[in-house]
């Protein structure tokens, strides 16, 4: 018997018991659909998150005080002197721009309306480094910085909260921690980012923040944003920054008391997290596939018992063990393969629906059904059918012809 015939005969036999075959297939359909949908959601989440991080700029580096991997005692804070050192074109030729930031949570109010938001104390370079644009007004300039001016830029979300609109706010006066600030500009919307919404911010001059709002002593800086010349110079820039800060903090030996993060590091971290998440979801979905497989085994066992006489007859007519084995294995793998194919369709529909729901909730998120997920699910489903078919098929193949023929 060749394979084509085996498949035809198996289809015939499955067709003769439509309800039973359908219900068995349903188990696999649910399993495969769940696997496909979960992998698609995981993949989509990964793409959305890494996309958001990449949107910040691929040539951007973040320098923090402290070391996230090793224990460091009394890490020295980053200071404005460190920032100046990083600006040195000879020691750090790969660095294009440096922007120190201090930040904190503050209360902002305007005629009774209140909002709690992040305030960033920034320098004019910050606009370039973080690629911020203003939709109206102007960014903070050197004069504001020198004069510790009481001026602020609002993110669109903050403007919405305070004024109920996203334009025409320049010239108004808001209170930050009770102190009056003149609004000099409105930031362009950047959407959600790796660290929460980038639109829910207020920016004020670095010097103002340091002395009057957030109060940092001894020229302390919370984060230094560094822009490398180009995405290709990120590694060189990282090395140069580390070199400079090590010598300035006098830690040429021992672990660093600062951390340089690149875009790529964030992307990697996010990938790892979403990868674990995907495997976790896929694993749970895989369990339902396993249950579907057990369903197949159950039905095939019933089918073998029911068709004992038929098996005996086939053996009397010259079927070898192998022929019977192939017959039943073909049936079980066809069941699971059909279930797999239908399941892929359903899984795709589910992930499409999840995407729609996410879009309706203003979370741009596109689950993507990858070719590898489809291949994996099909192969896995067929393997499940084969695996759970082996026992019943073996049982059928090993029936003694005499006894099988006598079976009532």
């Amino acid at each position: 018997m060749n394979l084509g015939q085996a498949v035809l005969e198996a289809l015939e036999s499955l067709n003769s018991n439509k309800l039973r075959s359908g219900l068995t297939i349903l188990g696999i359909v649910i399993g495969v659909a769940a696997v496909i949908a979960m992998l698609a959601v995981g993949e989509g989440a990964q793409q959305t998150i890494t996309g958001a991080i990449s949107g910040v700029g691929t040539n951007l580096l973040f320098v923090f005080s402290g070391n996230f991997q090793e224990e460091v005692r009394n890490p020295q804070p980053l200071t404005l002197a460190d920032v100046d050192a990083l600006r040195d074109q000879f020691q750090a030729p790969s660095v294009a721009n440096v922007a120190p930031v201090i930040n904190g949570q503050v209360r902002v109010s305007y005629s009774g309306e209140q909002a709690t938001t992040t305030v960033n104390g920034v320098t004019p370079d910050y606009a370039v480094v973080r690629n911020y644009n203003v939709t109206e007004g102007e960014f903070i300039n050197d004069e504001h910085l020198l004069g510790q001016a009481s001026v602020a830029l609002l993110g669109p979300e903050v403007a919405q909260k305070l004024f109920g609109r996203k334009d025409g706010v320049v010239g108004e006066t808001v209170r930050i921690e009770g102190q009056p600030f003149r609004v000099i500009g409105l930031l362009e919307s950047k959407g959600g980012g790796a660290f929460g919404s980038q639109d829910d911010v207020v920016m004020i001059p670095f010097t103002t923040a340091k002395s009057r709002v957030l109060r940092r002593t001894r020229d302390r800086v919370d984060v230094i944003f560094v822009q490398a010349l180009d995405a290709e110079y990120v590694d060189e820039a990282t090395d140069e920054i580390s070199q400079i800060l090590r010598s300035r903090h006098r830690i040429m030996l021992g672990p660093d008391d600062f951390t340089v993060f690149s875009q790529e590091d964030f992307v990697q971290t996010a990938r790892t997290i979403t990868g674990v998440f995907t495997i976790f979801l896929g694993g749970i979905a895989g369990i339902s596939l396993l249950v579907g497989g057990i369903g197949i085994m159950n039905i095939m066992l019933v089918s073998v018992t029911e068709r004992t006489r038929e098996i005996g007859l086939r053996k009397a007519l010259g079927a070898r063990k192998r022929d019977i084995l192939i017959q039943f294995l073909t049936e079980s793998s066809l069941l699971s393969m059909l279930g797999g194919i239908i399941g892929i369709g359903f899984g795709w529909l589910i992930s499409f629906a999840v995407g729609r729901i996410a879009a309706a909730n203003n979370t741009p998120f596109t689950p993507s059904v990858g070719m590898n997920a489809i291949l994996l699910a099909t192969l896995f489903a067929t393997a499940v059918g084969l695996f759970f078919g082996i026992y019943p098929a073996n049982r059928a193949a090993n029936l003694e012809p005499v006894e099988a023929l006598r079976y009532e």
Partner: protein
């Protein structure tokens, strides 16, 4: 060995174990069947005739003794070899027809050819075989759409398809009314007469046995008359 001998058995025994008790179904049966014979095997129930039939049909192996079918020693063959012997040398006709209910008469008749690994001309051969039993106009009917006599004729067509050395019929008329039974016997007899097919009929019915050339009688696992 004489080429005209199609079956030769030498002291065949068969012992079953039923728990602690050993049941001797056959206790040394030796006989020969000539090519082209038509004969019946008779005996009361429990005489071992079913066991003998299973062994003659290569569905089972004797506990001891030798069985030559068409010149080959088959009593110690493996499962797959026996399957091939059943496929090529033995045509079975059962009391309850044993047709696949969801397949057409044609597919039922074709089945042994599939297991023989034949791909070309299966259909033609199956149609030829169905014609030989007078069912040329019923080839696409399913067993449920055929009368008992017609079903048994399909079974005969199936038994004939591989030109077997022997046809083994187990109570072929047992489930049929007397008219259909008569027709089936006619077909078996004419097959023997016209084609020279060796036919072995296992039966209770003395009127059936009377129509064959020879009767082998079994009692308590032994032959009653000399073979």
């Amino acid at each position: 060995m004489d080429n005209d001998v199609v079956i030769r058995t030498e002291g065949i025994t068969k012992t079953f174990r039923m728990g602690e008790v050993e049941v001797h179904a056959l206790c040394g049966v030796s006989f020969m069947i000539q090519r082209g014979e038509i004969l019946s095997i008779m005996g009361p129930s429990g005489s071992g005739k079913s066991t003998l039939m299973n062994i003659l049909g290569c569905l089972d192996r004797p506990t001891s003794g030798e069985y030559y079918l068409d010149g080959n020693l088959v009593s110690n063959m493996g499962d797959d070899e026996l399957a091939e012997v059943r496929n090529r040398k033995v045509g079975f006709i059962f009391q309850s027809f044993n047709l696949l209910s969801r397949a057409s008469a044609l597919s039922n008749v074709e089945l042994p050819l599939r297991y023989a690994g034949i791909r070309e001309g299966r259909r033609e051969r199956a149609i030829e075989s169905l014609k030989a039993v007078g069912l040329a106009d019923r080839i696409y009917h399913r067993p449920t759409e055929l009368s008992g006599g017609q079903q048994q004729r399909v079974a005969i067509a199936r038994a004939l398809i591989n030109n077997p050395a022997i046809i083994l019929a187990d109570e072929p008329t047992g489930n049929l009314d007397s008219k259909s039974g008569k027709e089936i016997m006619e077909i078996l007899l004419s097959l023997n007469r016209e084609r020279g097919t060796t036919v072995i009929i296992v039966t209770h019915d003395p009127t059936i046995a009377a129509q064959t050339q020879r009767v082998i009688r079994l009692r308590d696992g032994l032959l009653e008359n000399g073979a």
